[in-house]
Assembly symmetry: C2
Homo-oligomer: 372 residues x 2
DNA sequence: ACATTTTCTGCAAGCGGTTTCATCTTCCTC
DNA sequence: GAGGAAGATGAAACCGCTTGCAGAAAATGT
């Protein structure tokens, strides 16, 4: 029952006894455990790293002592010899944007499952800082996940020299990446609006250099092609609530019946501004967002939006990275995750008394409503 | 212009030349730099750690070579001898709760300023996991910031043996902490409601074991004491949007004219549910939230809420930790950050035709409205 | 019982830095 | 110009752990 059966000798008051250093000291090292267990440090090391290599009986003893001493191998020391740190870095442009915590959550969870710890850094949308952060991390991580990088391609290629990179929401030659199918989501949104009768819609463009913005615009064009639909583009805007409020007025003036915003934050801004002006949503204006951040479902009216598998994307990014670290030889992979339109209360057929004079007719020319 | 001027010799195909190892190899170590600069490793080490100790001329040379080789000292190796890792851990209960990314943002920024890197972990509201995460981190960090810990006091005391702890939103003997003055904020909220005529209000209680919930209840009692005010308490609830929706119905049934929710998420849930039921806010019911998360100002109607200096609290937590690491002797500090009520559109005087029959009269008995 | 494998375990050499101590220069000072 | 202080550098011993290699122990075959 006592902590240490060996210590049955009477009153070992002297704590300066070198052979059995008391635990009040600095945290126990592998040597402390080895000494107490009467084995070499090598055996202790193996007990933790490769338990199969040590005799069962010995293993038990070592583990017991280690536990008693509250010993935990130092990852720093381990990484020194193995070259692996067991850490993964994640860099996001702005933690204030709900988009990223969601990704982070998935990444964090998956990393822990794979027994990796995660370093977090917020680049504050600043490319220079982003580079600096990755380079600073490089020495302490096995690889980093770069979310929605604001960097130019050559800069990213540079960074690849410092560490293994996995990109999220960005495609770059030679690096693995997970992509969210924004274009597909946009196509769904457009189809939805066309289906319920909209003929003139606006898109609020996000940051110009953003990959996902380009993708969304591409999806917009693809979705409207061949359809009886007029699309207007505004922006580029910062992807913020405030920008959405600002943009709302522009869309009203432009006489459209529906708006698709670059992201939910902006869509929420649009909603807010329209509410302030007394303009009915979806009665007078339909609004579609992007990302399906938690608050999208909480807004009034509940926001129709394109759901991106955010948390999943974080998980997949880590998976790609871990896989690549395990098999450095194998090439890079790219994974596309599907978006999905979530229809809620902020979209509805436009009123008939549109100022634009268009009647909500079926757009599909191939569909023979009347007989041939 | 070429990468390495020294390599002007024709076709150096043989890369096995030991003296001038090409950079295609593993990352350069301190020894590589020392060799190229014709100094000992000690000098290189000093050049980075204690530049004042090396002659200016030598310093320049070493730094130049280091730069050319893209050398960066390994923190892992350094920490091995110094005992300091230069890392700080941050543990949050749930990244999905917007409360925490905000704190994280401040913490991250301040940590970087102090040249610390941050480890992030999400405990998923799970105490056991929380303990495990802290203990796992302990070896790689100099200290950890524990946000809104879900642990009991003795467990926290246990963890203090593993690493330096700073608590956010929690008070514990022997550990530094930063507290958000929830009680004060609550008092402001109550005063506000009383001032505009409410006489019967509900509080939606959060997680039972949460320190901030206890504080908020305390503030509620303190704020209502001596006032002509009836307070009802519901819960405890999970601090979620859905719980707020649920609670909304209860408050309506309880015939109160105003609700104060444990946090914004719940308040938003209340708003949403009331809107769904066609109950006017603030006409028929006033709603107050807590935290002032970004979406509070985006809701319809804009939510009156108690703003907590979230990002600041993250910064302060790191500051406390860094300070304590710098002066291990000095005792622990506790810092209280003020809350501030932000009055927006979700609160207004109650209607006169209240079912409860109370007239919105001035509550201050000392104020002589009519002549003495 | 003895030779051979097969398992375990220990020795010792690093991994990439830091730091103490000693050595060698310089630069003053008298 | 000798003695000494101050400044700059290097040699080497770690820090806590992993791992190749070799010897010891246990298991196996004959």
């Amino acid at each position: 029952m006592s902590t240490d059966p060996k210590r049955s000798a009477p009153a070992p008051a002297d704590t300066t006894d070198t052979s059995t250093r008391a635990e009040g000291d600095s945290p126990p090292s592998i040597r402390d455990v080895a000494r107490r267990a009467n084995v070499s440090v090598a055996t202790v090391s193996r007990a933790f790293a490769e338990p199969g290599l040590v005799r069962h009986e010995t293993l038990q003893r070592v583990l017991a002592i280690a536990d008693e001493l509250r010993y935990r191998p130092s990852r720093a020391a381990r990484s020194l010899t193995t070259g692996k740190t067991g850490n993964i870095g994640v860099v996001v442009p702005d933690l204030g944007n709900p988009f990223f915590p969601a990704i982070l959550k998935g990444a964090q969870a998956r990393a822990r499952e794979a027994d990796y710890a995660v370093f977090l850094a917020d680049s504050e949308e600043n490319p220079r800082l982003e580079i600096e952060l990755v380079r600073a991390m490089a020495k302490q991580v096995d690889g980093v996940v770069l979310c929605s990088s604001r960097l130019k391609e050559p800069q990213l290629q540079q960074l690849r020299r410092d560490t293994t990179l996995v990109l999220l929401n960005r495609r770059v030659r030679g690096a693995s990446g997970v992509l969210l199918d924004s274009a597909g989501g946009m196509r769904q949104a457009v189809e939805h609006l066309v289906a319920i009768g909209h003929r003139r819609i606006a898109f609020l463009s996000g940051p110009a250099q953003s990959w996902s913005n380009r993708e969304r615009r591409r999806g917009l064009r693809a979705g409207s092609r061949g359809r009886q639909l007029e699309t207007l583009e505004f922006g580029p805007f910062a992807p913020t609530f405030e920008a959405g409020q600002h943009a709302a007025d522009l869309t009203v003036a432009a006489d459209v019946t529906a708006v698709i915003a670059y992201n939910d934050l902006m869509a929420l801004g649009v909603l807010s501004r329209l509410a302030d002006r007394g303009i009915q949503v979806p009665g007078e204006m339909s609004v579609v967002g992007f990302d399906n951040i938690p608050m999208a479902g909480m807004a009034t009216p509940h926001l129709t939006t394109v759901a991106l598998p955010l948390e999943l994307s974080g998980r997949v990014a880590i998976e790609l990275l871990v896989e690549q670290l395990a098999h450095p030889g194998s090439g890079t992979h790219e994974q596309m995750l599907d978006a999905q339109l979530i229809v809620r209360a902020s979209t509805a057929p436009p009123r008939n008394d549109l100022r634009s004079g268009l009647r909500p007719v079926n757009a599909e020319p191939s569909e023979p409503t009347t007989a041939a």
